[in-house]
Amino acid sequence: MKVLLRNPRRELDLRGPLTVAALLERLELNPESVLVICGDTLVTHDARLADADTVEIRPVMSGGAS
């Protein structure tokens, strides 16, 4: 599957199938700090991602201390 990461923007190729939870664990990402979007659909942590999927991992943390 194609995995798009941001901040900095980069792309990875990983072999599926994988659950979202397993994907985040493999990438050492805290599930609290990202959304996972498969195609154009938000997916939950138990969703299975197939080899042919395109997945965006979108960070949600933002902000200065203002």
Partner: protein
Amino acid sequence: MKCRVCRGPAVIDIRRHNAGFCAEHFLHHCREQVRRGIKEHDMLRPGERVLVAVSGGKDSLALWDLLVALGYDADGLYLGLGIGEYSDHSGDAARSYAGERGRKLHEVDLAADYGYDIPGAAAATHRAPCGACGLSKRHLFNRVAIERGYDVVATGHNLDDEAAVLLGNVMRWEAGYLGRQHPVLPATLGFARKVKPLIRLGEREMAAYCVLEGIDYIVEECPMAAGNRHLGYKEVLNALEERSPGTKAAFVFGFLDRAQPHFAGAALEERETLGECAVCGSPTTGEVCAFCRLRERASDA
């Protein structure tokens, strides 16, 4: 995972609620959390004019959208900070949102209207850019609200923001800041009321709200905020939240219920010492307010 409400397929799971939601019921959940936060803290009253501090990011655009969906009379204010492409893109996001939905967006540009920008201010004052940015925002959102007849300024601070600020204030026992850390700061002479209607929603929920509502926000992080202390606090809190869902909510709401009132006196003492800035007339503890001092140093540089 299934939606807690309709048992259809869920699109988001929220571990602190031990629940999943489909798109329709997640959007309903967000509106309900905002409605409940506003009611619990008496943030807004019917007929009031609300000025939303809009950055082009997920929180402020979602807030604007939610307030209008709940029937409030809410306009936006975008502040051009002069942070290169980041400001160009964030301004575009704010203008596109307002244009597509027919909403009124005020704009103030630091460089054009006040003669400085945030990178210049940080360099001239040797302050962290986030400090100069926060100071400029607080001053100008308040000033525009008062000058243009708004009853209240609404900001997109969410549960994660409040938890991170609280952690920072506790780590240093900042009594005055702890006394002012509340979802509502009442109006006083020279200050519009300030409210934080997203207090019951996390930033992951706000990003999901934008995705599901088709709101195109700036995903990239501000380049000047990278590695700042606030983001470090968020990482620590997220690590705790992963092990123990609900930690951030318990921290913030426990503080508001049981600790904040003990610090309110320290904030009141500070307020009693406020006079008028000799340059702009804004409330200040000194002769010239921090914003005017920043502006003078930054525009001279």
